[in-house]
Symmetry: C2
Subunit: 185 residues, 2 copies
């Protein structure tokens, strides 16, 4: 819910533009990089937001001729765009993350699955977390101070992935332990 300002996705795009002039193509690549971990609009959504930002006076578009590449449109944030982003940033009511966790939903409905299927589900989740952890562990946060909070964000990713893996291992052990109990009754 926003009173009058920009949406979170518009804020994300404006924030990326604030790092420098970018084309839609650049933005989709940027989004697939680090930002994509916590915000990843579809490519088509980026292309649909960009002209809206121009209409609103939050960005300007400039055509760039290229010799060995297709011509492109680059977008630059304007003062009004910066102001709109600042407003979003300073709004203390950050919208809540949507309560959408298909992994937990499936586990909640686990009573309609076999125990083996539930265990397999948890193990799949664990494997995904382990893969994510391995990916995150590759990243060396830059110490240049250019993106001062990237290290903290990375850190949360690591903490979360490790905690999930520990939880998953415990969960599997518990389920298997209760299976043994039942089979000995």
């Amino acid at each position: 819910m926003r009173a009058s300002g920009i949406s979170s996705t518009e804020a994300a795009i404006l924030g990326l533009l604030r790092l420098g002039e970018q084309s839609g193509y650049d933005l989709s690549k940027l989004v697939r990089g680090s930002v994509g971990y916590f915000w990843s609009p579809a490519q088509s959504q980026i292309y649909s937001i960009l002209p809206r930002l121009v209409d609103a006076g939050f960005a300007v578009r400039r055509g760039v001729r290229q010799a060995r590449r297709p011509d492109k449109q680059v977008y630059r944030i304007t003062k009004r765009g910066e102001a709109a982003l600042d407003e979003w940033l300073n709004d203390s009511e950050t919208e809540a993350a949507p309560a959408k966790n298909p992994f937990l939903l499936k586990l909640f409905l686990g009573e309609f699955m076999s125990r083996e299927a539930v265990v397999a589900h948890i193990k799949r989740g664990r494997a995904e977390a382990a893969a994510e952890l391995a990916e995150l562990e590759q990243i060396r946060p830059d110490t240049s101070g250019a993106h001062p909070y990237d290290g903290l964000i990375l850190d949360w990713g690591l903490v979360r992935a490790r905690a999930f893996i520990r939880w998953a291992d415990r969960a599997v052990r518990e389920i298997e332990a209760s299976a043994n109990l039942v089979s000995r009754e």
Copy 2:
């Protein structure tokens, strides 16, 4: 992305119907309860999904006359609905949780805020996590075996909230430490 089956939200509704015959009103209350922590469609979405499930043959509707309450429509899952839910449950490709975390997005854009604003943002997140933790700590998982995996889900909520609080405290300390460094330069 689903090949041919039902969506996660439809699965959630069918799963809830599998616990017993329910009205749309019952479902929105159930959703606001425990399930809402990881899946919470809007009330209007529930009312729009229900007739679709009936059309697809996954549920049947029955009108109930009530004396001291408005009449209501209750829905019961059918065999075909159970089969559709089973298919969704046994599909190993559980969709990924959407990468949407407004909290992290704002932190990522923290370089365009004052340090104080960033700290305030993290503290707000911490407060929310603490409130959630307190709520979760009230819940005593039922040991009847009716919902065998509720305890595990609760446990993940507790683990996650506690990990977030620890991360937030560390983050605030780090930001304030680096502020002191800079101010002494």
